[in-house]
Each structure stands twice: as C-alpha cells, then as structure tokens.
C-alpha cells in the first residue's frame, strides 16, 4: 500500500473542490470497507483520499411526508436499527442487515456500496426496487439520477470528474407496499452473492391484486439489473403462485450472467428465477401483514 494525502472535508463544496483538483488521482471515502481493502491489495492506487463522514448532509437520515433522505455516507447499522425505516422500507432493512458483519456494518454505507458499483453489491437491487433517486453534487452544480442508471460497468459509476454522491432519496412508500431483498450464498455468512434479488409490490386494498411491482437482480450482469418487464408483467395480476412464476421466468430470461468461481451461468439463471419468486413472496407477505413464508421466502420449508 502506498502513502496518500488524506483530506477531511467539512462541506460538499470542499469535497468537490478537492476531487476536482485531484482528478483521476483523488477518490472519496465513506466507510472505507471497499476502498481501503482495494488500496491495501493494490487493486487501486490514489494520491488523495477525501473523507466524507464529517459532512452533515452525507450523514443524515431524514424521514418526512415526501419520503426518506438518506445521506450517502450513513453506516448500515444506523439504517438497520431505525424502526421507521424497517417499517417503511423493508428491503433496505434486509440489505443493511446482511452487508458484512457487525464491525463492517458500523462503517459500510449504501452510498459506498452504490458508488463501488459491484455487480454483486447487496445494497443496490433494493435501492432499485425502492425507486431511489441519487442526488449528485459536482463542479457544475447538482443533478439527480435514477439509481438504476447509476452503475455503468463493473466497478464504474456514472459520476463525472469532481462529482460526489450526496444522498439517496426514497419516495414515500404509500399503502399496501412491501419489499424484500434476498441473496444466495453457499454459506450463511462471509460470501459474495451468487445471485441477489430485490422485489417490491403495491397491492390492492384487499391484498388480492398486484397493482405494481419492481424486480431487480444482482450478480447476473455487468451491473445490478433492473428487470422492468418482470414488474410490468405482474401489474394488474392476481396474487398467486402462477403469477409469481411468470415474473420469475421473465427475470430468469433477463439474467445475463457469466460463469466464474462463485457460480455457473446455469446456476445463476436458475437462481434468478428462484430468488425473484421468493423475494416477491416476502414482499407480498409484508404488504399484507401476513407470514406465509419463512425468512428465505420458502412456502413449506422446501420450495
């Protein structure tokens, strides 16, 4: 690991200035759980690292009638233990509880998870199904971007030189809303997702019809995948295993995985369908306030 300059920024403007000055050789730091390991392993090298954790906007959790403003650098454990978030944005609760262990959750942020742009990131599919908007500040002012457009390639995001992610804005969930995130890993801890799936639904008042749905997959394409067609196919459909199966089929077809040491193409395509269905079941349970499935989204402990 090489020595670098450390800038402890106190405002967004300071960050933008430091990043613009450093260009390609400068990089922002939230929890550092990705960045520092990459530096230590020599996978990346920077001359300037700009810490974001002392900037109030980036460390803020604000819940209002218009939804949730989540500062980009807020660590997972603060999100995970927030009771309002658990109720309103259950998939966010799922993923912040399974990124790393307790120590990692004390540092790791969702802004870092998103900006690191790993295809297998556990935080991103749920941001997509929660219809999150990214708030970005840069040398040319501020802009917003739908979170599904934020990752552009493995390890690359849509930020331009000098830009920083300030916050993630979640719309108010509305009634009869439910969401879930599930990942498949060979063990029960310590693994990178072989496949991840996020699902959200809005049901009719009687809980029998899916009014709208969003599905997102991780680890099956160069970037986390928003499977728009799967959600659309569910809109207006009755809640039934057949309906979910159809959405799972679409998700499975949309998945374009590679084979690597963590999983094969066939396995990942198969799991895309399985996890979509299971995440949908949990999301529906949550929207209805029922519990028909176990924590893995299985109906009878089996399939």
């Amino acid at each position: 690991m090489q020595a670098f300059d450390f800038v402890s920024a106190r405002s967004v403007d300071e960050v933008v200035a430091a990043l613009a000055a450093g260009g390609e050789r400068a990089r922002p730091l939230s929890g550092g759980t990705d960045l520092l390991t990459q530096l230590k392993e020599g996978r990346r090298a920077y001359e300037t690292v700009v810490d974001l954790k002392r900037i109030p906007e980036l460390m803020e959790i604000r819940i209002g009638t218009d939804g949730l403003w989540l500062g980009a650098s807020v660590p997972c454990h603060l999100i995970n233990k927030n009771a309002d978030i658990q109720k309103m944005y259950p998939a966010l609760h799922d993923s912040t509880g399974l990124i790393g262990g307790t120590q990692i959750q004390g540092r790791a942020s969702l802004g870092g998870n998103l900006c690191n742009a790993s295809p297998a990131a556990d935080g991103i599919p749920n941001l997509i199904v929660h219809s999150v908007t990214a708030h970005i500040a840069g040398p040319n002012g501020s802009r917003t971007l739908a979170v599904e457009d934020f990752c552009v390639a493995p390890g690359r995001n849509a930020l331009q030189s000098g830009e920083v992610l300030v916050a993630l804005q979640f719309p108010a969930p509305g009634k009869n809303f439910g969401a879930a995130y599930l990942r498949f890993i060979p063990r029960n801890e310590m693994d990178i997702a072989v496949v991840g799936a996020g699902a959200s639904v809005v049901l009719s008042d009687d809980g029998q019809t899916i009014q709208s749905a969003r599905i997102s997959l991780g680890a099956v394409a160069p970037t986390p995948l928003f499977v728009k067609a799967a959600g659309e196919a569910l809109a207006g459909q009755p809640v039934s295993e057949e309906t979910l199966e159809k959405a799972a089929q679409i998700a499975q077809e949309a998945a374009k995985p590679i084979s690597d040491m963590r999983g094969t193409i066939a396995q990942r395509k198969h799991l895309s369908g399985v996890l979509t269905k299971r995440a949908l079941r949990i999301a529906i349970d949550r929207a209805r306030g029922t519990s028909t499935v176990d924590s893995l989204g299985r109906l009878n402990g089996n399939g």
Binding site: N188, M261, Q267, N302, G303
Partner: protein, 766 residues
C-alpha cells in the same frame, strides 16, 4: 480382558458446562480444569509468531511465481538490492546443495532435495505461489516494493493439474529426475507417477465371486487446506559466531531445527528454536517454509534479525494443502451384508513434490471392517499444485468418503440398516488392517457404532421431505513418537514441568494433569511450560495424535519418580524405613507433613530435586469414530444445511474431557467444510483463483449445528491411564456421513467433493 466403559453425555449450546468431576478411581483425570495458557489467550497477551519483536528487526517478503509450471531462466535482483532500505535479497542460488535423502517428520516424510527446492525454487517454478526470492528491508512496505523490482525470466510450461493430466501419455514432466517406484522396483523413464504400492490379503477373485451384490464407484475429491487461523511466520537471527536462533510458530521445534540444519547445512548444535504460541496447525506447521529463508536473509544482512510473515493468500497458495484424489472402490457383500471382498485404488495428488498421504490413506480406506479378501493400490502423483502437507489424519477423509459411500449403497441394495451393516462388518481385536497389521489390543469401533445406534439422535425420526441421514465410520492409526520432559520440585511445593510439545489443543493442561495424578497433588500445583530446543532432549512434533499419549506418559513417569525420590529423601531425614504418601500427606514413624512442607524440608536438608523422562513408545492405540449426520437440502438452490450431527469416538481415556470434545468437534467441523464447500479453484493456467477466506469457503459458526459428542472409553492397555490419540480420527468420517445423508435426502448419489450447491442442484436434476 477389555474393559469397556462408556462415559456418554451430549453437550449442546443450551446447557451449562458439564461438571468438572474426575473419572472413577482418579483424583484429577477426567476433570476439566482451566488451561494454564487461557488468561493470556483471552486477554490477547499471548505471543504468537507474528508478535515477535526484536531490536533492529528487519521485515522480509517473498516473491512468488505467478506461473504454475515454468523454467526459471534468470533472476536479476540488482534493482531490488539498490532500493534504499533493502538489506538483503536471496534466491535459490543461495541454498547449499541439499542431500538426496528422505527425512521423516513424523506425520510425513520428505526428500531434503525437494524440501530445499520448495522453500526457494531451484531451476523450476512448480506451482502458482512457489517461492522464487526473498527480501529483507527496514520495513514491510519497502520489502514489498523491493520484490516488485526483482526481474525473473520464465519459460512458461503447460501446467499439469490433476491425476488424469499427470498420468496422460506425453504429459509434461514436472521433475526431470523422477522415476516410478513400481512396487519396489525403480522405473527407467521420466514420469509424474512417483510411486505405486499394493496391499493384498486373501483371494480377491474368490471373494467377489462369493458376493451377492458388488458395487464399484469412482470418486473425486478436491485439494483442501488445513485452514489454521494463524498464517505462517518465521523470525531468525544469524549471529556472527555462527549461532542461529529461530522463533517459530510450529508443531515441532526440533522438526524446524532438523530441517533448517539439513537445508542450510548448519549443525543442529548451532541452531536453537524457540516456540511461540501457535494458532492452529493440523499438520500444516510441520514443514518449514520461512525459517531457513529468514536465516539466509539474516546472515546476508549482517546478522540483523529478520521476520517473515505470510499473508492469507500466500498461506493458501504455497502451504498446506492436502491432496485432491481420484478413488475407485469396489466392494462385494453376501446376502447378509457381510463383505466378501474389497478393492480400492487410490490416486493422490502429491502436489509439486512426491509425498502425498496415500500411504496412510491405504491403511484408512478399509480399516474399520474385517475383510478377508482385499487389495489396495496406492499411487503418489506429482501435479502443479503446492506440495501437500499433513492434514489431520492425512489422506483419511477422502479414502473413508469413498468406502463409506459404497458401503451405504450396498446396505440400500440389501435392505440393511446403515448402522447394522457396520455392526456386521466392524473390526475387532485380532482383526487385521489392510496392510496386514493386526489389532492385538482391544479396539473400540463396534462400541462407537453401538453408541450411535443407541443415541437419542439416531432414534429421533427425520421430519421433512428433503431431509436425509447418513452414518460413516473412520479409523486412524495414531502415533507414539519420542518425548522428553523434566520436572523440578520447587521449595513451595509446586512443580515446574518443562516439556517441548508445542501446545495446540490444550496439551499443557492434559500433560500437567497426568503428572499431578501420578504424584497425587493438585493440578494447580503443576506449572507446565513448553521449552526451546536447548531446554529438553529431542521431542517429536505435536502431530499424529501423540502428545497427550507420549508426553503424557513421560509426565506420568516423572510423577512416579518424583514421588519415590521424595519418599526416599524424607525417609533419610526422618531416619525411618518407609514413608507413605496418601491424601496429600507424607507419613513415616510419627511424622506427618503435607506435600508443601515436604518440599520445603527437602530443600532445607539436601540437594534440589529434579526428575526427567524420555520415552519412545513403539505401540499405541488406534482410534475409531462413528458419526451421524442429518441434513436438509433446499431443492431449489441445492444448499445443504446440517441439521444435527453426532460423533462417537473411542478416546481411550479422556484426560480432560472438554479438550477431547473440542478435538472431536473441531475435526467434524473441518470435515463438514471438506464435504460441502472447500476446494481449490484453478484457472486453465493453473493459477489459484480463490486464494482468500472469502472464496475458499470454510464453514462459519452460522453454518454449523452444535456438534454432539459421545465419548466412548475403551482404555488402551499400553498407556498408564489408557490414553489413545484423539486428535485426528474425528475428521475421517464426516465427508462420508454427509455424502450418505445427502444421498438419502435427494434420492441420488454424488461422486464428487465438495457437495457445493451448484453440484447438488445438478445431481437433483438427474
């Protein structure tokens, strides 16, 4: 006459720890005192290999081959040497020519020529991660930067990664000088097959002809690593007078001394090895990797001490692992389930140099059963993977996995219960091992099967559609080996016990307990310590499940001797004929004094009292274990969950039952990793892809149920307390038990380890 005594209790996470009560007839043995190293370990004060700090210490770093198989054309170290802060650079050219001679390390043996080429490559890089050169510098960053400046020219050769690759016609040859030892006769052609040997008993053809069913299967198991928590380290100081001091985290200080002496051609008398605490070894910390390199660097750096510490990636790339294997097993049985014949062919990948554990595997493979007609063929094959090292019952897990899978298929075909077929065939005193060695003393296999058959676990039915249950048995030879120790009586009535078996699993406690029992004093009065190579006589490695057995025997002998000398001394002082010792009190004539008073009196009235013992037990009690696994398979993901697991093991005599249970549970946990997810994954160039604990998937606490233990005690008559080695046999059955459980759960059998989710999913499709 065999005395079978079953001390059974299951431990689980919800009950309080079992009472610390000695076994019947003993005052100490069988109780559960606190270990002497406990406080330092839980407070972080214990000194491990990487914690060694010395005045003027330099930090080393090893350059490793990016290629699996390459000829080294040249190494230019000049730029690295020129870097400010760099104090020494060494390569294989700095090593003296090693003798072409085999060194027995207890759990494994190696030709010194190969050992030398393994620690710093000579003319060829033989696996991804093979050490090429090393640097010592003022700090680790400089050392790391410096190895980047070493220029190595390679001629890259095609990698040979598996048994099949290595045995193919026209396979690239790894070692130019290697010839096949074909059942004792040396071949004449270059080869990757180092050795083929055979054990035979009875009439194989007649045995198969008499069978009602015959099942023949081929299995594949992957390379796996021991997975000790502490990475390898080595610190050395080469003094200008030629004296060498090494600080090592090792299973055997004398093994480090001997290997360093042979590789560097320094007399053993000039090398002192000081042990640190050790964070796991499992057989993988017997070979040296870093210590001789640190000595070379220290010598070149003008005698400054040098410390080398591996990263986890280096540990996985270049140390351990144990062999991947191809195993073919054919077993025939009559209609009653009695085995009539068995043939096993074991093809083990030795890694880059000969010396896989196939020899041990050939004894394990059929050992739990009494079989009149058998043949075992073993093959030791070099491939471009790290040189295999001993790993807990080396070679046993793969071998038993194959046998136990086939045995269950036979039981299913004949409609015989899986515990019952093992009772029908189980080996007893008087039966022979595959290599002909006879079990002349009592053995406890059948008792362990019976214990499982009677367990609450076995008698609780499964409840789910995708649940399955499997049994497997296992055998391990164990070992005696040489041990030495001294004991000093202190004036305050305590005893300083100095031994040299590095303590990996609580052996300081179990050795002190045996000493205390023999003398008749409290455990707390004994202060055990693991000394360096200058402090006691030669001592074999902590390995082969021998330490509590052999070093414990030395402790017992010293206890008996110390008590007898104390009685003599008191008899002299009191001028009586005989002195008795009972309930902590010496008495003779009208005199009655406590042990403590006796110690003080002895010090006041004469010379200090010290005893010593050296032992080399040639016979020792083998270990058997039977294990029971319940699994549940997620039919949509292929993920296997271990629902419940019980191990019964013949432990001879549990000196400290908590540490025995710990050994049993630990072996099972490693075996579960082997069964479900652990494997070396290489790309087509032979580069290791999963060189981290993120992707080399050992089980975590969340992947395991509480492992229930049943201690079966069939005392071994050749040990004063009936001890048998308990450290290894527990890892032999798990893969077989889990394979049998998975087959039971999904209704089809798998023939490859690990049974990772993708493979289970495939098997379910078929």
């Amino acid at each position: 006459m065999a005395v079978t005594e079953k001390a059974m209790h299951a431990t689980n996470g919800h009950t309080s720890p079992p009472a610390s009560k000695p076994a019947d007839g003993y005052t100490i043995i069988g109780s559960r005192p606190v270990r002497p190293d406990g406080v330092d370990k839980v407070t972080g004060r214990a000194i491990y290999g990487a914690d060694v700090r010395l005045q003027g210490l330099l930090y080393g770093k090893v350059l490793r081959s990016p290629h699996a198989h390459a000829r080294i054309l040249s190494i230019d170290t000049s730029k690295a040497e020129a870097l400010p802060g760099v104090k020494a650079v060494v390569t294989g050219a700095d090593l003296p020519t090693a003798a072409d001679k085999v060194e027995d390390l207890g759990e494994s043996a190696i030709n010194l020529k190969y050992l030398s080429a393994n620690i710093l490559a000579h003319d060829k890089a033989l696996y991804h991660g093979h050490a090429i050169a090393a640097v010592a510098a003022v700090d680790s960053h400089t050392a790391e930067e410096a190895i980047g400046f070493i220029e190595v020219k390679y001629e890259v050769l095609p990698p040979v990664m598996t048994v099949d690759d290595a045995m193919a016609d026209n396979a690239p040859i790894l070692l130019d000088g290697l010839r096949t030892d074909e059942m004792g006769e040396m071949g004449s052609k270059p080869t990757n097959l180092a050795k083929h040997f055979r054990h035979q008993q009875g009439d194989l053809a007649a045995g198969f002809a008499a069978a009602e069913v015959v099942v023949e299967r081929t299995f594949r198991t992957e390379t796996v690593h021991q997975g000790y928590i502490e990475p390898h380290t080595g610190t050395a100081q080469y003094n200008t007078d030629g004296q060498v001091t090494i600080w090592a985290s090792t299973q055997g200080t004398f093994a480090v001394r001997n290997q360093t002496s042979e590789i560097l051609r320094i007399p053993v008398s000039q090398i002192k090895v000081i042990p640190t605490e050790i964070g796991g070894g499992f057989g993988g910390k017997i070979n040296v990797y870093l210590e001789p390199v640190a000595v070379l660097l220290s010598k070149k750096a003008g005698g400054k001490p040098v410390k080398l510490v591996m990263s986890r990636t280096e540990v996985l790339q270049a140390t351990g692992p144990t062999s991947g294997s191809n195993i073919r097993i054919k077993i025939g049985a009559d209609a009653n389930g009695k085995i009539t014949a068995a043939h096993a062919e074991l093809y083990y990948e030795a890694g880059a140099f000969p010396g896989s554990p196939v020899g041990a595997a050939a004894n394990v493979v059929l050992a739990p059963y009494a079989i009149d007609n058998l043949q075992v063929d073993g093959y030791d094959i070099v491939v471009n993977r790290p040189r295999s090292a001993a790993y807990r019952a080396p070679g046993g897990t793969n071998a038993a996995y194959a046998t136990e899978s086939v045995l269950n298929e036979i039981a299913e075909k004949l409609g015989i219960d899986q515990a019952h077929i093992r009772l029908i065939n189980g080996a007893k005193q008087g039966d022979r091992r595959p290599d002909g060695v006879q079990h002349t003393e009592p053995i406890g296999l059948l008792e362990t099967v019976q214990a499982i058959a009677e367990s609450d676990h076995y008698n609780t039915p499964l409840t789910g559609k995708y649940q399955g249950r499997g049994i497997a048995c296992g055998y391990w030879n164990n070992w005696g080996g040489k041990s030495s120790a001294t004991a000093v009586l202190n004036a305050d009535g305590t005893v300083s016990l100095n031994e040299a078996s590095t303590d990996i699993g609580g052996s300081r406690a179990s050795i002190a307990m045996q000493f205390a029992e023999a003398v008749g004093i409290g455990y707390e009065q004994v202060k055990p310590r693991v000394g360096d190579t200058d402090s006691v006589a030669y001592n074999d490695v902590t390995g082969g499940s021998r330490t509590t057995f052999s070093t414990g025997m030395a402790a017992h002998n010293m206890g008996v001797e110390m008590l007898s000398q104390m009685k003599e001394r008191l008899a002299d002082v009191w001028e009586v004929d005989a002195v008795e010792y009972a309930d902590g009190e010496f008495s003779g004539g009208d005199n009655h004094i406590s042990f403590q008073e006796a110690a003080a009196l002895i010090y006041k009235t004469g010379e200090p009292l010290m005893v010593s013992s050296t032992v080399f037990p040639r016979s020792f009690g083998p270990g058997f274990s039977t294990q029971l696994a319940d699994v549940e398979v997620d039919p949509e993901t292929g993920k296997v969950t271990i629902l419940r697991y019980t191990i019964a093991q013949d432990v001879g005599r549990a000196i400290h039952p908590s540490y025995v249970e710990g050994q049993m549970q630990g072996g099972v946990v490693q075996g579960i990793g082997w069964a479900l997810n652990e494997e070396y994954i290489y790309n087509e160039k032979g580069q290791l892809l999963n060189g981290s604990l993120l992707d080399y998937r050992m089980p975590t606490a969340l992947d395991l149920p509480m492992i229930e233990t049943i201690l079966v005690e069939v005392p071994y008559p050749g040990h004063p307390y009936g001890v048998r080695g308990v450290g290894e046999v527990n890892i032999v059955p798990p893969a077989g038990a889990i394979a049998n459980a998975v087959a039971n759960a999904i209704g089809s059998r798998m023939f490859e380890l690990p049974m990772s989710p993708a493979r289970v999913l495939e098997a379910m499709k078929e």
